[in-house]
Symmetry: C2
Subunit: 158 residues, 2 copies
């Protein structure tokens, strides 16, 4: 069963951890979903929406040589986005998203290809999705999976 945002905020509050996001294809929709919950400000700090690759480099400290070599739809890129968000937003936990919303492929990846990462003080998890449907469905699926990943990783952290 999908975790909802309130579950994620509750497990973060239990741990005493703050949350931030680093978003590419979701374009701020993970953050916007989190702040729907009244009192989210007790846990949620902010987000860097890095839609343009240049912002991934300048504000999230993603390695420009890596982006030049592999593009932006990549496990190492999403990992660096999450790690950069933890540093630049000053948060304990960061969830990152990158991928292809569509319509049509990008950088050689079909629409619906999504990489997620969650970085916490005790580790890192990544996940790759192959979503189907229109642009809005891909983005909604990516947001739900990102919330799920964050919930699982934080809940299982020691």
């Amino acid at each position: 069963m999908a975790a909802d945002v309130a579950d994620l905020l509750a497990v973060l509050a239990e741990r005493g951890w703050t949350l931030g996001t680093a978003e590419s294809l979701t374009g701020g929709l993970v953050a916007a979903t989190v702040v729907e919950v009244p009192g989210a400000s007790r846990v949620f700090v902010g987000s860097v929406v890095a839609y343009d690759p240049a912002v991934k480099i300048s504000l999230l400290e993603v390695d420009p040589d890596l982006v030049a070599r592999v593009g932006t739809v990549d496990e190492q890129v999403v990992t660096q986005m999450a790690q950069g968000a933890r540093r630049r937003l000053g948060v304990d936990v960061a969830i990152a998203t990158t991928g292809v919303a569509g319509p049509g492929p990008s950088e050689g990846h079909p629409a619906g290809t999504v990489w997620l990462a969650c970085s916490t003080p005790s580790g890192l998890s990544t996940r790759c999705l192959a979503l189907t449907g229109e642009r809005a469905a891909v983005r909604a699926g990516a947001v739900a999976a990102a919330i799920d990943l964050g919930h699982e990783v934080v809940r299982d952290s020691s």
Copy 2:
């Protein structure tokens, strides 16, 4: 009549200007609304969601003494957020939002108090809103007014 996002992206593309956002109470929802339009990446670069005041200072270069003196629901603060976003995201036009989504007042301002700013290469406009309704309605109203403000300012720029 309210401008829709496609109108805003079209006038930006005509001018050859890029767009970014700096968001507090809207929590990324302005950015998420912009990227609903396929091809938004031709104009839209990214966003800094500065939900916590510390992020307004660290990533948007808002003056910490100003925040200490007046709080975050303020015309000068939203102006500095927009100007900081232009520099830090490297965009031509930045739209900024700050205010009280509710429920309940914050910093002495009633829920629904919202400040907006739009900074462009040729000037700056700000707007204050007194919105009514629940948290989701306040945020939706702030997003629509932010898109409207951006559209008016860019359309009327010489």
